[in-house]
């Protein structure tokens, strides 16, 4: 049993991503959408924390939102997978439930 967690806020502004990561298990996945995509590149101050998370959990980022914010050509954090909307839909179906951390 596993949960797909959706995060849509920049961790530089809101603590939602931390709050999510502190509670989910290794079978769960996280997708960064909307403003949350700003943490997807390597070289941010969240680098090491997210590397710890990707060591045992699946992290995804929504490409269209990354592109819209001018970040598509930056190198993504190791272990983070970029998906389009269809990929997002597939993730929803592959997990047992979806939890949007609003």
């Amino acid at each position: 049993m596993s949960t797909l967690n959706i995060i849509n806020k920049s961790p530089f502004e809101k603590r939602t991503l931390d709050q999510c990561l502190s509670r989910i298990s290794k079978d769960d996945a996280v997708i960064l959408i909307e403003d949350a995509v700003v943490v997807a590149m390597s070289g941010t101050s969240y680098d090491s924390q997210l590397k710890t998370a990707t060591a045992d959990k699946k992290l995804y980022v929504l490409t269209p939102d990354l592109e819209a914010r001018g970040l598509a050509d930056r190198s993504l954090l190791d272990g983070l997978t970029a998906v389009d909307y269809k990929g997002f839909v597939a993730l929803v179906t592959e997990h047992d439930r979806v939890h949007s951390w609003l």
């Binding site: 949960t3 509670r23 769960d28 047992d96 439930r97 939890h99 609003l102």
Partner: protein
Amino acid sequence: MEEEYSGGVEKKFIYINRRVPHGTAYAIESLETVLIGAAFDQDVSMLFIDDGVFQLKKDQNTESIEFKNFSKAYRALEMYDVEKLYVETESLQERGLSADDLLVGVEMIDRARVNELIDQQDVVLSF
């Protein structure tokens, strides 16, 4: 699911509350959903984590801001057969609160067990 809900499908719903009440409408709208949802005879849990624990704080007095004091309605949940209220211990502690500050009896749950609880659910509604 092939069956109709009226045909007796029972799913496990969890309502996750993470916001301070009154600054936004999420707390009251979550509660309204739970109360309406109770008529569907589903298995309902409510989880209060992060700032959501403030929703259950005793002694809320909304008179001066001219809001309805809906915190009283949490005590009616039992009559709606919503009996599973969980509050995360760490969230309370971080905010300088304890179970004595809450207006209704709840089950305290450690952060490490939150995931276990969510893992048992079919539908997650987060406000």
